[in-house]
């Protein structure tokens, strides 16, 4: 899933300065799971903003709603009409959601309410860890299900750098060295030969930006 974190309250409040009618639109998919921009967080932010502006003696109307998935056109069409009367909309979705909303609601001003951070998983409640760089050329089958491109701070493919120490990373002694983890897991699997070969430099062409993908069935449409 996409992991995001809400922008600081003061930053959001500053973005809204001078506005009279604002809409906050949440997304109930990834950013809801990581407690940044789902229904609950939208409600909380809207209440905080109302209270804060009221305290400042400012008259501002703040309305809210949350859609199932802001990065999907079908879901977005259900709310677009509702947004037309507002000066601006704060989208609590990831960067992809913010952009689809901006495309569909042009020329409405759309502001991001979260910072989109990474593709991650949830090792335990309330914690998210980056585990995929979307590099477009997956090597997990060879590295024991541990991604060197993501988990190694340098993203190197041929074994540890000289900065690893007692299984930890030179960048942060709290972080595990990806290559020690990979080595140990493959050792248990009896598959160390997987990484004894040389991995060539990564092909960055498969990750050219902006990437686009069209399913076979939809090609030619």
């Amino acid at each position: 899933m996409i992991v995001a974190e809400r922008k600081p309250f003061d930053e959001i409040k500053t973005m809204l300065a001078g506005c009279r009618k604002v809409f906050i639109l949440g997304c109930d998919t990834c950013v809801s799971v990581c407690m940044a921009g789902g229904k609950k967080e939208v409600g909380l932010l809207a209440s905080q903003l109302r209270m804060s502006f009221k305290k400042d003696g400012k008259d501002i109307q703040i309305d809210e709603d949350t859609v199932e998935r802001q990065c999907n056109r079908e879901y977005m069409e259900l709310v677009l009409n509702k947004l037309q009367d507002y000066e601006l909309v704060v989208s609590m979705a990831c960067g992809a959601g913010v952009q689809l909303l901006a495309d569909l609601s042009e020329p409405l001003q759309i502001l991001p309410g979260v910072n989109t951070r990474f593709i991650g998983m949830t090792p335990k409640d309330g914690t998210w860890e980056e585990r995929c760089r979307a590099c477009g050329d997956c090597v997990l089958g060879e590295t024991g299900g541990i991604c060197p491109v993501t988990v190694c701070a340098k993203g190197i493919l041929n074994g540890p750098c000289g900065g690893t120490d007692h299984g930890k990373c030179e960048v942060d002694p709290e972080k595990d060295c990806a290559w020690t983890l990979i080595y140990r897991r493959l050792e248990k699997m009896g598959k160390l030969d997987n990484i004894r070969k040389d991995f060539p430099p990564r092909n960055h062409r498969v990750q050219s930006h902006p990437a686009k993908q069209v399913h076979e069935v939809y090609k030619g449409e």
Partner: protein, 294 residues
């Protein structure tokens, strides 16, 4: 000692290399003084590449100056700040300038240096830089395009003999050997018994190993390295020896220890040579060599 580094490696002599860091700025007076001090006493001088991720004068220009001054440069090259195009371009440039020895490194992480917000590149890691060198020598770049004139290099790499765990380190060492590394300069070694065990293994390969010697300047520095520098383990006995040095005599004690270790490595034939890193105390290198009877 202006013999090419490759010739020096093949001569069978006990090899000594030292390290000079380029300045942060355009004042090269101190760097030149260090080169001048070392160039006739060692077989090669490493010029560091934005060492510790701190932005400085380029290692390529530093090597050019070593060459101009009649020394033998070893170009350190990391993959942290340049992508494969810039690295290959610099390798061709080095060759044209007569710089023919390269040490291939992955590079410290950018977050450890003085431009923490910069974008780390890491398009090629140490092994892949080594392989790029061998490809360029074949007359092709790593994109498969023909070159008009191919370079020829003596290529080396690094290894950490006291890494814990050691197995992943040795796996990478073997990859570097297979990729054609001709010499290795090791991370600092202090426990020669541990280093001998590494050499029992590494001695099986047809490469020259230069043991890393980092000059100890105080007991505090030794303790600090044990706690903060990966792959370095200074034994308690050496820390005690440093702590026991008379007031103002710690540097002298460090020189004595480094000289003693080099002497032992040479006399017992433990390694093919040494790589002396006198970080910030380059002027002490001649004293270390004297203490080592070299």
């Amino acid at each position: 000692m202006a013999v090419s580094f490759k010739d020096a490696l093949q001569s069978g002599d006990f090899i000594v290399t030292a390290e000079v860091g380029p300045p942060k700025g355009t004042d090269i007076a101190e760097m030149k003084a260090h080169i001048s001090l070392l160039k006739d006493k060692v077989h090669g001088i490493n010029m560091t590449d934005n060492q510790s991720s701190v932005m400085r004068l380029s290692s390529l220009v530093g090597c050019h100056i070593i060459k101009e001054m009649g020394g033998v440069p070893i170009l350190q090259m990391t993959g942290r700040d340049r992508n494969r195009m810039a690295l290959q371009s610099d390798l061709l440039s080095a060759s044209v300038l007569g710089i023919d020895t390269v040490l291939c490194l992955t590079g410290d992480h950018i977050g450890l240096g003085d431009h923490k917000e910069a974008k780390p590149v890491h398009d090629l890691e140490s092994l892949q830089i080594l392989k790029a060198i061998r490809t360029l020598e074949s007359g092709m770049d790593i994109g498969g395009n023909p070159l008009k004139g191919a370079p020829k290099f003596c290529a080396g790499a690094v290894v950490t003999p006291e890494a814990d765990p050691i197995e992943p380190q040795l796996m990478k060492f073997e990859k570097k050997v297979r990729a054609g590394a001709e010499f290795f300069q090791t991370q600092a070694v202090y426990d020669l018994e541990v280093f001998k065990r590494f050499m029992d293994y590494a001695g099986r390969f047809d490469v020259k190993i230069l043991a890393g010697i980092v000059l100890l300047t105080s007991a505090r520095m030794a303790t600090y390295m044990n706690q903060h520098v990966a792959g370095i383990s200074v034994p308690d006995s050496l820390i005690a020896e440093m702590a026991g040095a008379p007031k103002g005599g710690a540097l002298q004690k460090g020189i004595e220890i480094a000289g003693r270790m080099i002497r032992q490595i040479k006399e017992e034939g433990i390694a093919h040579g040494v790589h002396i890193m006198a970080i910030g105390k380059e002027t002490a290198v001649p004293d270390i060599l004297q203490a080592a009877n070299l």
